[in-house]
């Protein structure tokens, strides 16, 4: 390909992508930068780190941050363990079973998180599904509403589809002959999964875990509806600072801390992935 042609290709490419690019620069990157400024601005327009000192120097906010990270990690790990076999089943099944499994994963994705959380509230609630079963069995009733366990279970149901879809899309791309070869050579199905399929699907696992971690670090609806005084997560705290306390600079600072944690997790995982691939 000659040079002038490739320059024309470049120019045309930039021209066609410009509207979408410019829109995101203005309404996506712009707001994030403004958000950063908002958090370090003091009353007379100078710079201050006071909001960050306030957030990271206070035991309560640190505890909320810690709880949020632990909850997100637990949700991510549970989604991976529960979702991986489902991803395999989707990638390796055909026909009606495959359609059903995809329906199974995609439908919850399109039912609002508020609605699904409401469903879990009915399941865990005092006069709910689980207690109805416990009563039938003549057992003491219990409620998971307002506990970390209940919130975690509901969040796994909400986020599991993202994990499954990420992994399944990588598994679809793996040649099934590789598994056949492993099994023909005497490997058990479990060994085949551990030594052949899992390493090849690492890309999907990384995409899925990053996605689920980032999404659960940012989810507030489940905690807002199901939580109690003893369960608080950072995104909900941000919302409350904004809406109830009207403390905008502090809300901006807490939001930036949230982004920062997600970015660190992303960097860590991408670093790990690179080492894994090199090995």
């Amino acid at each position: 390909m000659s040079r002038p042609r490739s320059m024309r290709q470049n120019a045309r490419g930039y021209l066609l992508t410009f509207p979408a690019f410019a829109f995101l620069v203005v309404f996506f990157v712009g707001p994030l930068i403004v958000n950063l400024f908002e958090s370090v601005k003091n009353e007379d327009g100078g710079l201050t780190y006071a909001q960050y000192v306030r957030a990271l120097g206070d035991a309560y906010y640190l505890e909320v941050l810690g709880d949020t990270i632990v909850l997100s990690l637990a949700v991510t790990i549970a989604s991976l363990v529960l979702g991986y076999p489902l991803a395999i089943a989707i990638a390796r099944s055909r026909g009606a079973l495959k359609s059903f499994l995809i329906f199974l994963v995609v439908t919850p994705l399109l039912i609002n998180v508020v609605v699904r959380t409401f469903g879990w509230m009915v399941i865990f609630g005092r006069s709910g599904f689980i207690n109805a079963i416990l009563k039938l069995l003549d057992l003491d009733t219990a409620t998971l509403t307002g506990t970390w366990t209940g919130i975690g279970i509901a969040m796994v149901q909400v986020l599991l589809p993202f994990m499954v879809l990420s992994i399944a899309s990588t598994l679809e791309g793996i040649d099934g002959e590789l598994e056949d070869a492993a099994i023909t050579l005497g490997a058990t199905p479990l060994k085949t999964i551990i030594h052949v399929i899992f390493p090849l699907s690492l890309q999907g696992v990384i995409t899925g875990t990053l996605l689920v971690f980032a999404l659960s670090m940012g989810s507030f609806v489940t905690v807002m509806l199901m939580g109690s005084n003893s369960t608080m997560v950072l995104p909900l705290l941000v919302y409350q600072q904004l809406n109830l306390a009207s403390d905008w600079p502090f809300a901006a600072a807490l939001g930036n801390i949230l982004i920062f944690v997600v970015l660190i997790a992303t960097a860590l995982q991408l670093g790990l992935a690179k080492r894994g691939v090199r090995r």
Binding site: Q9, N10, R12, L16, T17, P19, A20, F21, F27, F28, G30, P31, L32, V34, N35, E38, L82, P85, A89, I90, R92, S99, L101, I102, L104, V105, T107, P108, L110, I111, N112, V113, V114, V115, F118, G119, M121, V122, I123, G125, S127, G128, F129, A132, L160, S166, E172, E179, P189, G204, L210, L211, A214, M217, G218, F220, V221, P235, G255, V262
Partner: protein
């Protein structure tokens, strides 16, 4: 062939449990929607359609439902207009930085929407769009744009460039090639991506929660607000109506595009 063709009994067990786990909350909501009680309990003491009727005639739910439809359509159409030329360029004009640009256009996917919502709240205020409908639409365009780019890029990458080259060779101008060859090839992708974008906007909570006002409030936000103060079957009833709309949209999507393709392009 063992793994691929015959799921073992352990796998069948697991699939049954995970199916219940994934579907139970929605099924329970459907049952509660037809409860005759004035409170939420499961199983309901009796069944009736009174909550459905009440919700359908309640403007505090129907107005947000209409708002959500209008917002979803506006945001999807605007995002499609931005995504289509960009996706064409990314796939066919392999220009320098095309890959990076694609990643940039997909990047709103990995940003928690609440953070985006807060940032937009500050930003829109600063540029004089605070508390406006345009601000809300722009926010949703940012959220749904990646879904359109992803769908169109995925489908367009799978088409044969020689079809367009043939048109060029036979003397067609770029614009007529686009209109008569490329666009018809991409119509299902634009439609499916647009539908997907609509569903995402229809479902979005955080941006709508912070950027909408009393007259532009969306359905998910009105359900969330209602549920914060009330715990009765009305929430279940309006949720079922919302589910019906989503399922209908999904059926249309499946007809034009195939749900199977959604698994292939989730990256």
């Amino acid at each position: 062939m063992k793994i691929r063709s015959r799921p073992g009994s352990l796998m069948v067990c697991y699939l049954a449990v995970i199916s219940v786990f994934l579907l139970l909350p929605q099924l329970i909501v459907v049952v509660v929607a037809f409860s005759e009680a004035s409170f939420v309990s499961f199983p309901p003491p009796g069944y009736s359609t009174k909550w459905m009727v009440r919700v359908l005639s309640d403007p505090s739910f129907m107005k947000p439902l209409w708002n959500s439809v209008v917002l979803g359509l506006s945001a999807s159409i605007m995002a499609a207009a931005l995504a289509l030329p960009a996706s064409l360029a990314i796939v066919r004009h392999r220009f320098q930085g095309a890959r990076a640009l694609q990643n940039f256009l997909l990047s709103p996917l990995s940003m928690p929407t609440l953070i985006l919502a807060i940032a937009l709240l500050f930003f829109l205020n600063d540029i004089g769009l605070g508390n406006t409908y345009a601000g809300l639409v722009f926010g949703h365009v940012v959220v749904v744009l990646p879904y359109l780019v992803r769908t169109i890029v995925a489908v367009y990458s799978g088409t044969d460039p020689r079809i367009e080259e043939a048109a060029y060779t036979l003397g067609a101008k770029p614009l007529s090639t686009f209109w008569f060859i490329t666009l018809p090839m991409l119509r299902p992708a634009i439609f499916a991506g647009g539908m997907f974008a609509f569903l995402v906007s229809f479902d979005e909570v955080a941006v709508a929660l912070l950027l909408s006002n009393a007259s532009s409030i969306t359905l998910p936000v009105s359900i969330l607000t209602y549920l914060t103060y009330n715990y009765d079957p009305a929430v279940a009833a309006i949720s079922v109506i919302k589910m019906i709309i989503v399922v209908l949209a999904l059926l249309v999507l499946e007809r034009f595009y195939g749900l199977q393709n959604l698994t292939m392009q989730s990256r």
